[in-house]
């Protein structure tokens, strides 16, 4: 029963993807049902930008639903919420007026809230769902406020009216909705410092839901930002693009810094999503800056690169979450310090996860490399602007992108290596079993998508440019021919097919060379060299915590670890030790400097306000009387 519903979801996803791709390629469409929704009616419209994100939702739903058949194991709870979640996410990019958008957005948040509460007997799930609910409502409040300001300024609640009225609005009235909408959308995207719900909610939800949340839902925040900056309030000033770029840079670096020291596999992936959203924002911000200074072609390139990264991230992050879900399904734990050796028990999952790790670490010739390369190229083009402050902002963006790229490599070597390789570190890991066929099929499908997106930028990039071009109002830059992507003529070129071919030939070359010189082909299997130690156990392997130690030391000004050392001495002599426990947890800067004071102020205010609730009926009657008199006077 549950399986058939998931298959329905997969089919629906395929349908949505087809419609979306049609939209990208230029097919438009409108659907209007005025009586369905109050205050404006249901209005859906398909345009290239919306079509792209619809296609993303649909395409991601296919492997997630197939995976869920095996993962949910016939469990009925959460299936309807899942269907509601996917449907709501499909409506958001199509929404053409305020009410449709807000209702779809809220349905999406509500459905995912229930999905996060899936394991409601765990306190961390309940806590995660609570934080998620609060943060999504704060985001919604900002969105609503911004949209209402825009609606009053333009006199309509239809998005098409907003786009056409945008150039005529005075700059003063544009700033407020821009900032409000920006805040609302970045909080959904999970940008620092509004990210606190992400590392709590994504691990708590079941893995196919995490894949959709990380792969698609946060991209709808990006969709919103793109919609606001390129459509409703276009053209945006240069400072807006630069602000997005810098916020993206900070997000990227902070996100990956937290991911590197995580030992919970799914939390690591969640922080990595924050990092990738930062990278997308770097590209988007750069594009908006180019648009603001009049370099339309470069703007198209940068924004197309950012959208490409959004699509790629959906592919490899979903793959990684599905792999992590398979691990949790098999071992029951997310703690990497208790995993290991899974490559022998779960070979398919291990291969797919290593593949996903290579993709996210931006290794050529996979898709992560292509989109990061494009964003690098777009940033390098900043020399075409002769404004020093913007050049410096772009330089910061370049350095941040490079740092996150290196740290991502380290983070995913840890994730893939500690989880899957070497010897199991616990009983649960030793007893793991391979994932069922549906889960494996979903992962292989996503891996194939990564390869496709990696060798096909000559197809994907022009399509994305066609999405962005009309919005920026510029003609498309020359992007190379069928096999090679070219940037600004001779500035840079990338031919992934040729690269993949070269790597394939080069892989065969050493094999051929060894055969030619008649190298010794004998292989003997023996235990790992352990310096002659007689007892070799899994305790001697490196742990995830140990692996991230260099980063903890180098960036200790950021992590500010609070080390704790508890030593239990032998009762008879302080020269002998029975037990040593050492913990060095990192402290979250954002939570300590932003959230704790904010929450403390709020509780303080609330404590003061509580005095109004005296519990005496007479006081309440007095309040009612006072309110009534006041209303009569004012009205």
């Amino acid at each position: 029963m549950a399986a058939s519903l998931f298959i329905l979801a997969a089919v629906g996803g395929a349908l949505a993807a087809t419609v979306g791709i049609a939209g990208v390629l230029g097919t438009g469409g409108r659907l209007s049902i005025p009586w369905l929704v109050p205050l404006g009616g249901l209005e859906l419209s398909l345009d290239p930008l919306g079509g792209l994100f619809l296609a993303l939702v649909g395409a991601a739903a296919i492997p997630a639903s197939i995976y869920a058949i095996g993962y949910a194991g016939g469990e009925r709870r959460g299936v309807l919420a899942y269907l509601g979640f996917v449907s709501a996410m499909s409506v958001v990019p199509l929404a053409a007026n305020l009410m449709t958008f807000v209702i779809a957005w809220e349905l999406m948040s509500l459905a995912s809230y229930f999905l996060v509460l899936h394991d409601r007997d765990r306190t961390e799930s309940v806590d995660a769902a609570w934080v998620y609910a609060v943060m999504s409502q704060i985001g919604l409040a900002c969105l609503l406020a911004g949209m209402l300001v825009l609606a009053t300024a333009t006199g309509s609640t239809t998005f098409a009216d907003w786009s056409s009225a945008a150039p005529d609005l005075p700059p003063g009235t544009r700033v407020l909705p821009l900032v409000l909408l920006g805040l609302g959308f970045v909080s959904k995207a999970g940008v620092i410092p509004l990210h606190v719900w992400l590392p709590r909610a994504h691990p708590a939800a079941p893995s196919h839901v995490s894949a959709l949340m990380s792969g698609v839902m946060i991209k709808l925040g990006i969709y919103g930002l793109a919609r606001v900056s390129l459509d409703w309030l276009a053209p945006t000033p240069a400072w807006w693009g630069a602000a997005l770029l810098l916020v993206g840079a900070v997000s990227a670096v902070v996100g990956i810094l937290y991911a590197v020291v995580e030992r919970d596999l799914k939390r690591l992936l969640a922080f990595s999503s924050i990092e990738n959203v930062g990278i997308i924002l770097i590209g988007l911000g750069a594009g908006l800056v180019f648009a603001a200074v009049g370099l339309g072609g470069l703007a198209v390139l940068a924004i197309a690169a950012a959208l490409y990264h959004a699509v790629n991230h959906a592919a490899f992050k979903s793959l990684l979450f599905l792999g992590a879900g398979a691990v949790v399904h098999a071992t029951g734990t997310r703690n990497m310090n208790a995993l290991g050796g899974l490559v022998r028990r779960m070979p398919w999952t291990a291969a797919c996860f290593v593949f996903g790790a290579a993709a996210i670490a931006a290794l050529p010739p996979l898709n992560g490399f292509v989109s990061e390369w494009l964003i690098f190229q777009a940033l390098l083009q900043n020399v075409r602007m002769a404004r020093l402050e913007l050049n410096l902002a772009f330089t910061v963006g370049l350095a941040a992108l490079a740092l996150t790229s290196g740290l991502t490599l380290a983070c995913f070597v840890k994730a893939a290596g500690i989880t899957f390789l070497a010897v199991p570190r616990s009983e649960e890991a030793a007893r793991a079993h391979e994932a069922p066929v549906s889960m494996r099929a979903a992962m292989v499908l996503l891996a194939a998508a990564c390869v496709g997106l990696g060798v096909g930028p000559t197809l994907v990039l022009p399509a994305l440019a066609r999405v962005v071009g009309p919005l920026v109002g510029s003609e498309l830059p020359a992007l190379g021919d069928g096999l090679t992507v070219r940037i600004s003529g001779e500035f840079a070129a990338l031919s992934p097919l040729a690269l993949a071919a070269a790597l394939a030939i080069a892989l065969l070359a050493p094999l051929g060379a060894l055969w030619l010189v008649g190298a010794q082909r004998r292989t003997r299997w023996a235990p790992t060299w352990a310096c002659g130690r007689i007892l070799q156990t899994a305790r001697m392997e490196y742990t995830a915590t140990a692996f991230s130690n260099p980063f903890k030391r180098v960036f200790d000004f950021f992590y500010r670890p609070a080390p704790r050392l508890d030593i239990e001495f032998h009762p008879e002599s302080r020269f002998f030790v029975e037990r040593i426990e050492y913990a060095s947890p990192t402290r979250s800067l954002v939570e300590e400097w932003l959230y704790r004071p904010a929450l403390a102020t709020l509780s303080g205010l609330a404590a003061h306000a509580r005095r109004l609730q005296s519990g005496s009926a007479n006081t309440y009657l007095a309040y009612i009387l006072a309110a009534l008199v006041l209303l009569l006077v004012i009205a």
Binding site: L363, A402, L409, G417, A422, F491, A492, M540, F547, V554
Partner: protein, 313 residues
């Protein structure tokens, strides 16, 4: 097309065959500088040949990752050899960009780190952890140095950069260019595991970064890993020689200019090797947690180089 393929093959051969000689010459020079006679410069060829005749002992805790890594390392180095302007500046292939080159090195680092973790020993894990930490911290410097070069040469294509600088020597003599060279040189030390970042000849596991990941390899796998390491050093030194001092790199692909290009390369590599040998003899290895300070210094140099372009083009 044919000339491009021939050029590609020639470059790959030059790097593949010349790398062990470079490493051997470096070892001999370092020995002579401390008063020993040292091994012969062609000793690495004998070492590799001997390794190919030994059996490979593979640990029972490892997986396909361990056995695939040596081939991946060699493959990425061969492709790097083809795209770096070794003997000519006409870089044949339509993906000969400097950013791609840096990421090709990261592919090797990724797999080698995984292979280190695969062995399940504390040394492998430690080597992997340190190696990726150093690689991560070197990345920003690399990209900014690339940026500095690309700004001046108006391209990120390796052959294009060489051709541009060869044509306009005054661009190459600017202080920003030299700052970029210094930054890149320090990154080279970090990425190829030379002193003061890492001692390639150490036997103390706790001081190892690169060697610790390689402790478990033997036989033909070790030969491939060592060879790939030698090629990485060769490629990096060639990059330093030809990108920053591009004189003598022909843009015409014909036998005579290529031969001249080869001779020029040998000369430049010899100078760089002497410089590297002297540097490695003079400096002591840095404590591991002082290496980020060194890399931060190189980042500052790269940043200065970039600012120099904006402020004084």
């Amino acid at each position: 097309m044919i000339t491009d393929l021939v050029l590609a093959l020639t470059q790959a051969l030059v790097v593949a065959a010349g790398a062990p000689l470079l490493v051997g010459a470096l070892r001999t020079l370092k020995a002579r500088l401390v008063g020993r006679r040292g091994p012969r410069p062609w000793q690495p060829y004998a070492d590799l040949a001997k390794l190919l005749r030994k059996e490979a002992v593979v640990s029972t805790t490892t997986s396909w990752v361990f056995r695939v890594t040596p081939y991946v390392l060699v493959a990425t180095m061969l492709v790097a050899a083809v795209i770096v302007p070794v003997v000519a500046s006409r870089t044949a292939l339509p993906f000969a960009g400097i950013i791609l080159l840096m990421y090709l090195f990261l592919v090797g680092a990724f797999f080698l780190a995984l292979a280190g973790l695969d062995s399940g020993s504390a040394f492998g894990g430690m080597g992997a952890s340190r190696e990726v930490a150093v690689a991560a911290l070197a990345e920003p410097t690399v990209i900014l140095a690339v940026f500095a070069l690309a700004l001046r040469a108006d391209t990120t294509n390796l052959g294009g950069i060489v051709a541009r600088f060869a044509g306009e020597p005054r661009l190459a003599a600017s202080p920003g260019h030299l700052l970029a060279f210094a930054a890149f040189f320090i990154v080279m030390l970090a990425e190829t595991g030379r002193l003061p970042v890492d001692n390639p000849a150490t036997h103390l596991e706790l001081t190892m970064i690169h060697e610790a990941m390689v402790l478990e390899y033997s036989g033909r796998y070790l030969a491939l890993v060592e060879w790939a390491g030698a090629m990485k050093l060769f490629v990096f030194l060639t990059l330093l020689a030809n990108l920053f001092f591009p004189w003598g790199v022909p843009s015409l692909v014909a036998p005579a200019p290529i031969l001249l290009g080869l001779l020029a390369l040998v000369g430049k590599l010899a100078l760089l090797t002497v410089f590297l040998a002297v540097l490695e003899t003079i400096v002591a290895k840095l404590r591991l947690f002082r290496v980020p300070e060194l890399l931060a210094g190189s980042f500052a140099l790269a940043l200065l180089s970039v600012t120099a372009v904006f402020v004084a083009p």
